[in-house]
Amino acid sequence: MIKISRLIHDYIQRDEEGNPSGTIRALDDISLDVEPGQFIAILGHNGSGKSTLAKHLNALLFPTEGAVWVNGLDTRDQNLIWDIRQTAGMVFQNPDNQIIGQVVEEDVGFGPENMGVPTQEIWNRVEESLKAVGMYEYRKKSPNRLSGGQKQRVSIAGVIAMHPRCIVMDEPTAMLDPSGRADVINAAMTLNREEGITIILITHYMEEAIRADRIFVMDEGKVAMQGTPREIFSRVEEMQALHLDVPQVTLLAHTLRQRGLSIPEGILTREELAEALLGGN
């Protein structure tokens, strides 16, 4: 679905007169592959390059060196930009700053309108997309009257209406409260499981990454770790060194293990911990 090969991205720094004065390497030699239908989580603290990476997948930024292919389309080819943006949709962090329409249904129709989809087909797509994220009953509402979580689900619907193969979500839950966060992640999960849409979720909430098929941890523009959630969260010390959280149950299991109890590494759920502690009794 997505193939990144030796990707390097430099930001140009400018001095006060606006002349280039140097470069900052935001992405440093990144290679990775995402299979169709996968649910991918990308972790990393602010400034680790994860947002820059996300914008490459939607041809909003272009490689300085290396290449990115989205469903076989090379983002360096200017003629393919619109196909790429249609294939890999994008959901951003701030729900207020990505809703264009003044009515929910009109916002969802914005993408298809841009693509030149015929009117009747737009209406069909808007209906199915809003139903897919559970926002159909709000279709006539003004976005200003919705909660943060509801706005983000409208944004997701706006992307689905473009019939993408892949959705890149750049910290979609960072500004939401716990219930809004759960709604957004559940909507993403459903799309992944039921429609087979590839999801790339950038987040710093560990509990959202647990259900991913694969996790990439970014640090200083590089992929520092990659693997299944169990593999990643087994490496508690490394995660802590990168200033990232691990789920508390994993941390507790790790602490107990350090203090001599014999339980396996990489425990991700309460049930697993109970099993490990009490299973034998």
Binding site: S147, A174, D177, L261, L273
Partner: protein
């Protein structure tokens, strides 16, 4: 009453007192909605409080009532025994003593350099230039912003730094009660830990009351000595953290949750391990489990 029992600090009239306060938005219109209903509350000096509630629970309204930004539709707000909405009450002096740091406070920075921005508050209080500067330098130092940044534009700082400068802007007014609304919103785990660490350090060094407003129990559980839970415009719980978390099922009905560690211990208890479930940190939980299971040499 409840609150006073907590840490042996009896409410002696100093601090904030809310008496049967209600607040209704758009009174007399079709849009009329009660944001707060009949809330009574005492905030004594020198206490570390967590104020928890779901979006729309009334916690933001409550916070703005505490420093007089909103006027209650019913009931009274007293500070040090005086009604703050009396005719000749000095609201500006009140706002210096009851400092409020809004959500995303870095969005309110506006001066050309960090130091001037922090001096904005003290200047509004009418202090002379030297005193303003002294307050600002102290405040910046206590949030860990070094002298090398004083002349930098606040807009050139990193997200976490900006937020600390914004907090210093309120701190420089020497509040006795400091309210922080979602101080960790939008930060990554590192930024979050830095800010929370900073706040609890401030609490220890300066004797003031800190009210930490949040929707995350995990953030506040290990720091505060008292938790006030708001739901549907009412005060639901007001007690020490361990006691509040025993009601984890009721918390869920309010769209909240207890700290993750509470759930882990509850699960173990349900599966037959007879342990106390009110640990607040991973270390405490580990102690409890090892105490029950007898450690490695069982």
């Amino acid at each position: 009453m409840q609150a006073a029992r907590l840490s042996g600090k009896a409410f002696d009239g100093m601090g904030i007192k809310l008496e049967n306060v209600s607040y209704i938005y758009e009174v007399g219109t079709a849009m009329q909605t009660a944001a707060l209903e009949d809330v009574s509350l005492e905030i004594p000096e020198n206490q570390f409080i967590g104020l928890i509630g779901h979006t729309g629970s009334g916690k933001s309204t409550l916070v703005q009532l505490l420093n007089g930004l909103l006027k209650p539709t019913e009931g009274r707000v007293l500070y040090n025994g005086k009604n703050i909405h009396e005719q000749d009450y000095d609201k500006r002096a009140l706002r210096a003593e009851v400092g409020l740091v809004f959500q995303y406070p870095e969005h309110q920075l506006f001066e050309a350099d960090v130091l001037s921005d922090v001096m904005f508050g003290p200047r509004n209080l009418g202090l002379d230039e030297a005193a303003c500067k002294k307050s600002a330098v102290e405040a910046l130092t206590s949030v860990g912003i070094g002298e090398e940044y004083f002349k930098t534009s606040p807009f050139d700082l990193s997200g976490g730094q900006k937020r600390r400068v914004a907090i210093a802007g309120v701190l420089a007014m020497h509040p006795k009660i400091l309210i922080l609304d979602e101080p960790t919103a939008g930060l990554d785990p590192r930024g979050r830990d830095e800010i929370l660490g900073l706040i609890s350090e401030m609490k220890q060094k300066m004797s003031m009351t800190i009210i930490l407003v949040s929707h995350s129990m995990d953030d506040v559980a290990r720091y505060v000595e008292r938790i006030i839970v708001m739901g549907h415009g009412k005060k639901i719980f007001d007690d020490e953290p361990r006691r509040v978390f025993r009601h984890y099922r009721e918390l869920e009905d309010l769209g909240l949750s207890a700290p993750q560690i509470t759930y882990i211990l509850q699960e173990l208890k349900e599966k037959g391990l007879d342990l106390e479930t009110d640990a607040l940190t991973v270390a405490e939980a580990a102690d409890e489990i090892i105490r029950k299971l007898g450690g490695p040499d069982r």
